[in-house]
């Protein structure tokens, strides 16, 4: 059984200006421990697919299982619990809560856990150190650079040790070098066993991933695996 199994998923947005058929019958399997990229032009449905897979956005039809769980059969509160346990999100920008320090932002997923305060602090600090931000943990987001904010977001996504992280254009607003640092960090986390699914429209980013799926107009076009990296991992 794959970690994530999507079968013939459609998503239709009904808006003021008629319907948008954002996903047209997508089927996809993601294995545990994969580092997968989703490529495609703007408006092709990448973010929609990511949010559907991330248990945030119920599909209009089709099915999705994560770890064998029919996520969209759960009510919205249980789905929140599911996200808390299984999923970390990293978004392109504005992903931090502006009035919380880096440390507090990372502690957010722990605030609804049973860990006592001290342990929460420790866990958050450790993760921040892991992403290279140990010293700046008391800064507010607006006192951090874009790349640093991104690292905080990654730390927050993994502090709870979820098996899957979804990232929507995590390098989109960063300069090339900073973007590559982030991808290297993702790669390191992936080698520790984290499953990562990343949306990007930058072909250069594919150097870091094991597999890429290409989306156009809401449909999967093709899937490419990059053998050497798979071998590297083993």
């Amino acid at each position: 059984m794959s970690l994530i199994e999507i079968n013939d998923v459609h998503k239709v947005y009904k808006g003021g200006e008629g319907e948008v058929h954002a996903l047209r019958g997508v089927s996809l399997k993601v294995e545990e421990g994969e580092f997968l990229a989703m490529m495609g032009p703007s408006g092709s449905g990448k973010s929609t697919l990511l949010s559907v897979m991330g248990a945030l956005n119920p599909p209009t039809s089709g099915s999705m299982l994560i770890d064998g769980i029919d996520v969209y059969a759960l009510d919205s509160e249980r789905r929140a619990d599911f996200r808390h346990e299984y999923i970390g999100f990293v978004f392109q920008q504005f992903q931090l809560v502006p009035y919380l320090t880096a440390l507090e932002n990372v502690m957010l997923p722990l605030a609804i856990s049973r860990y006592p305060d001290k342990e929460q602090r420790e866990m958050a600090k450790n993760v921040l150190e892991k992403v290279g931000l140990g010293e700046k943990c008391l800064r507010l987001p607006n006192q951090l650079s874009g790349g640093e904010q991104n690292r905080v977001a990654i730390a927050r996504a993994i502090v709870n040790q979820p098996p899957i992280v979804f990232a929507d254009e995590p390098t989109g607003s960063l300069d090339t070098q900073t973007g590559q640092d982030i991808l290297t960090l993702f790669q390191a986390l992936n080698r520790e066993g984290l499953t990562i699914i990343m949306v990007t429209h930058n072909k250069e980013n594919l150097d870091w991933v094991q597999r890429a799926v290409f989306i156009r107009d809401g449909s999967l076009e093709k899937s490419e695996s990059y053998g050497p990296r798979m071998a590297q991992e083993g």
Binding site: E77, H84, D117
Partner: protein, 398 residues
């Protein structure tokens, strides 16, 4: 980190908005509490005066000026030109059908005398009879004898005089034997002497200005006395009080109306501010939901935030509100209360005293509760929106 810490951080780090919300509560609650504290103060003051009036019937000459001129419900200064009760009035009192129903009689002669700088209100009283009726009177020093006088505490403070000093009254030196401890009433600004001395100083021979009577059945007794003393005005104290009570009640209603109006306006301001607040926060609420916060987690953050502000604002407003009358009391008493003809406050205003400080715990509880209700009302719509929030939609533009 707990959910409350998130709320607290938000309040701490968004100072402008927090201050604005707090200020709204402070102004609304503060003003309401001030008005209501004054109204309660007036009421208590009136009650205190009623219960400490001693007499339940006042007999005076038929004079317009004197209607309320003595006994704690009056203005010193309007008693310069008064008519008199004949000395025989005192004997007439004994002709009632049931003399044993009259438990105390305190006659007084009230007049004015010029001092070195200003005029003084003189009250000639029969001290043993007066003290029997006004058991709360306490004199520092000794009771006056012969050409001596006891002065009210307000006079002692204003003129910086005390026992041992002398006052010049209508050219005659009067020695001060004691000071009457503060009563809060017009007594505080009066010079008390034995009846004989006041008569000599003022020329009010063989007469009384008023006679206070304590009787068992004041209404009926007053009716009987009115027949016995056709030239006098016999008033049961209950009637004296009605007018003053009505004024206080009018002010109370005014205070209540203003409070309700302020609460409505305040609620609207807080509603608008908080709604805007949550609109700005769609993104971060989306993040919370994506992370796996349940609706109740988000509600708990919103409610903590608004309750923290409401309780702080309510409590602060209450403290502000009960302090304000002490600071502005004299001004308020003079400008609003005197103009509205509130006799009860006039003695105090004339004496220039600040209103006493009082806690009014019920007012405090009411302030905090009302502030909380306003806060909760204001957060209802934003909270509802937060609950309905679609996380995918909220995060769409991220």
């Amino acid at each position: 980190m707990k959910l409350q810490n998130i709320a607290l951080s938000n309040l701490r780090r968004r100072k402008g908005r927090t201050m604005f919300l707090l200020l709204t509560f402070l102004v609304v609650v503060g003003t309401s509490v001030t008005l209501n504290a004054i109204s309660l103060g007036l009421k208590q003051d009136l009650d205190a005066k009623l219960s400490s009036l001693g007499a339940n019937i006042v007999i005076s000459a038929k004079s317009e000026h004197l209607a309320l001129s003595y006994g704690g419900l009056s203005v010193p200064g309007v008693t310069y030109d008064v008519q008199k009760l004949s000395a025989s009035a005192l004997d007439k009192l004994k002709q009632v059908s049931r003399p044993e129903d009259i438990t105390a009689i305190a006659p007084a002669v009230i007049g004015a005398a010029s001092g070195d700088k200003r005029k003084y209100v003189l009250a000639g009283v029969d001290f043993p009879a007066e003290l029997k009726m006004k058991t709360w009177w306490k004199v520092d020093g000794s009771l006056p004898q012969g050409d001596e006088a006891v002065i009210g505490s307000g006079l002692a403070v204003r003129d910086k005089i005390g026992p041992g000093d002398s006052l010049r009254l209508n050219g005659k030196s009067v020695k001060i034997s004691g000071v009457l401890e503060q009563t809060g009433g017009s007594e505080d600004m009066v010079v008390f002497s034995p009846i004989e001395l006041v008569r000599r100083l003022t020329g009010l021979k063989d007469s009384f200005t008023l006679i206070e009577v304590n009787a068992k059945d004041p209404e009926n007794m007053a009716a009987e006395l009115a027949k016995l003393l056709p030239g006098a005005k016999v008033t049961p104290v209950t009637q004296l009080v009605e007018g003053a009570t009505e004024s206080v009640n009018r002010f109370t209603r005014f205070a209540l109306m203003v409070s309700i109006l302020l609460a409505v306006v305040g609620t609207m301001v807080v509603v608008v501010t908080l709604s805007g607040n949550v609109n700005d926060r769609t993104r971060e609420l989306g993040i919370f939901r994506a992370i796996g916060f349940r609706q109740r987690h988000i509600l708990s953050i919103l409610f903590t935030e608004v309750l923290l502000i409401s309780v702080t604002g309510g409590l602060g407003g209450y403290l502000l509100g009960i302090t304000a009358p002490v600071v502005f009391g004299p001004l308020l008493a003079q400008s609003t209360v005197v103009q509205s003809g509130l006799a009860a406050a006039q003695g105090r205003a004339a004496a220039g005293q600040a209103m006493g400080f009082a806690w009014y715990p019920w007012l405090g509880l009411g302030s905090v509760l009302t502030a909380c209700i306003v806060g909760l009302l204001a957060i209802t719509y934003p909270a509802w929106r937060a609950v309905k929030l679609d996380p995918a939609e909220a995060l769409r533009f991220i």
